[in-house]
């Protein structure tokens, strides 16, 4: 029996959702026009005013916002509420440049936590569960978001935050944690550490995991599910929009339902900025309908994915987004070919390599080089040089057929690739252009 946190919204008929979204969109556009001068100016430049927005279709008349706008408007330029009404900030990791600071009113936090509670409930969580939140707490949205959602569901919440892996395992065992929330790479690392401690999936009570904040593949999901003995659910979000819980996976584990009562999703061509028909792959764009303190309209996420309105067996009616197939920020252009780290990961896991890898891009004599470094494991190692070389060749061929270009594969010593407790550093681009 599928459980819902807010069944009337999560299973609302499409017509009802369109009515709600239209009403909220009209209201939100008025709000930004009145309270966010930065966006009002963008609208004026485009010759749009709130009167032009009457239906969902009118959304495409509105200007986009991008990370560049967020940086330009830093720190207060995109605020939609006076500081006295704000109670919280969260911030991005700042790995791709200047940090983004997002503001929240009390109600913004409340609605965000509802979204996270929906995700935890979809993963089977109830007030009888023990939910260990091993996302970082602090400026990063992962810890606070899932922590709030877990409270709302009524789970006993263990706020371990990230790091101290052996203590994580100790709490999972001693306090019988049933749900684990963290990044997928940290979940994989936890599984690896458990193996080293001689622990298998039957030695821990976990039944579900909610993993997000970075790209991961189906193969990695299979891997994590097997080593931890759980069902692993994907969760999606951005600090700019609230945090985790913008979209989440249900029991079908096939795409993430977008919380459409709070966010309108569009798919655009990243180059022409045209809205693409449903089912086509492109860049995901979000409009926050209910956020007051940081109300972003048509925010370009840089995530490449596909939306689907196919009927979901879980009963939820909200549109589903595929796992992002890459981030236009992560996308590498190597010898003119678009390469996403997730494609490389797929090949590695399909051939039985561990999910720990690093991609090193360089430019030698005006030609881009791609070096995929993989750690040797006891399972892969044999005394036979020829066998190892043959496996290496197979991997090079697998990468060639996936990417359409030749990569070098380097086997490195076990544990030599740095483990991350937050987002994994997968790509080192040494090119000086």
């Amino acid at each position: 029996m599928e459980r819902y946190y807010q069944p009337e919204i999560e299973t609302a008929p499409r017509e009802e959702m369109i009515r709600l979204q239209t009403e909220r969109l009209i209201k939100q556009v008025k709000h930004v026009w009145d309270d966010v001068p930065y966006y009002r100016k963008k609208m004026e430049d485009k010759g749009v005013s709130p009167e032009d927005i009457k239906t969902l279709d009118d959304l495409k008349k509105l200007p986009f916002l991008s990370k560049a706008d967020l940086r330009e408007a830093y720190p207060y330029g995109l605020m939609g509420a006076p500081l006295k009404d704000c109670v919280r900030i969260q911030s991005t990791s700042g790995t791709t440049g200047k940090r983004v600071v997002a503001f929240y009113t009390k109600e913004d936090v409340d609605l965000w936590e509802d979204c996270c509670a929906r995700a935890i409930t979809a993963a089977g969580g109830t007030n009888e569960d023990v939910c260990q939140v091993a996302y970082g707490y602090g400026l990063f949205t992962g810890g606070p978001g899932l922590n709030g959602g877990s409270h709302k569901v009524g789970c006993l919440t263990i706020p371990t935050s990230s790091g101290n892996t052996e203590r994580q395992i100790m709490f999972i065992r001693d306090l019988s944690a049933t749900i684990l929330c963290c990044t997928p790479s940290y979940a994989a690392y936890l599984g690896e550490t458990m193996k080293e401690m001689g622990l298998g999936p039957d030695d821990i009570p976990l039944k579900a995991g909610i993993f997000g904040a970075e790209a991961w593949s189906e193969e990695m999901r299979r891997d994590i599910q097997a080593t931890l003995g759980i069902k692993a659910y994907d969760i999606y979000g951005l600090t700019e929009l609230s945090g985790p819980g913008v979209a989440f996976e249900c029991s079908a584990q096939a795409g993430m339902h977008i919380n459409e009562d709070h966010f309108i999703a569009e798919i655009i061509d990243p180059v022409t900025e045209e809205v693409l028909p449903e089912g086509q792959q492109g860049e995901l764009v979000f409009t926050a309908l209910t956020k007051r303190a940081f109300p972003l309209i048509r925010y370009r996420t840089r995530d490449i994915c596909v939306l689907s309105r196919e009927k979901c067996p879980c009963g939820r009616t909200h549109v589903k987004m595929s796992k992002p197939r890459g981030r236009s920020d992560d996308m590498l252009i190597i010898r003119g070919v678009n390469v996403f780290p997730s494609q490389i990961e797929t090949v590695l896991l399909n051939q039985g390599y561990p999910a720990n890898y690093q991609i090193i891009v360089d430019r030698v004599n005006h030609t881009d080089t791609l070096d995929v470094q993989v750690e040797m494991t006891p399972e892969m190692f044999t005394d036979n040089m020829g066998e190892i070389a043959a496996r290496q060749k197979l991997l090079v061929e697998g990468l060639r057929s996936m990417l359409g270009l030749t990569a070098k594969v380097t086997l490195v010593a076990p544990k030599s690739i740095v483990r991350s407790e937050g987002k994994a550093v997968r790509v080192i681009d040494k090119r000086k252009i």
Binding site: M376, F381, D383, M385, I388, A413
Partner: protein, 142 residues
């Protein structure tokens, strides 16, 4: 037959030194040693006095390794010693994947470690030719 430990080594400065330091710190004596190398990695093959201790401490220090049976033969330390061994294997149709030699403090004696593609045929052929095979205990006591 003796037990050989094969260790994966990344091709970078100090990888081998790091491994031998672990052995030294644990008072492990190498009886024989060889290194096979590809362009980006190598395999160190070790014959040691204590296989269990060696594999345990190497694993604890993060090395990936495999333990396998190989043949060890003893022969006179004189011209023609190795030729005789290899000819007898050739006559039995046995192919040798790799081979390396070592000596001990026993004067006039040399030893070979070899990995045949067909272990039982190789052992039978050596026995038939009167070539003495060294067992693990003898190596450990050297």
């Amino acid at each position: 037959m003796v037990r050989q430990i094969s260790v994966f080594l990344e091709n970078k400065a100090g990888a081998l030194a790091q491994m031998t330091r672990v052995l030294a710190d644990n008072n492990i004596n190498l009886r024989a040693f060889s290194l096979a190398e590809a362009s980006d990695f190598g395999i160190a093959r070790l014959i040691v006095n204590d296989v269990y201790l060696t594999s345990t401490v190497l694993k604890e220090n993060g090395f990936v390794l495999a333990v396998a049976n190989v043949l060890a033969v003893s022969m006179p330390d004189a011209p023609g010693g190795l030729a005789h061994v290899l000819e007898c294997l050739k006559d039995a149709g046995v192919n040798v994947e790799y081979i390396y030699a070592f000596t001990s403090d026993k004067p006039g004696q040399a030893y070979m470690i070899l990995r045949p593609d067909d272990e039982s045929t190789a052992m039978k052929a050596l026995r038939g030719a009167g070539i003495r095979q060294v067992e693990q205990e003898e190596l450990s006591e050297m």
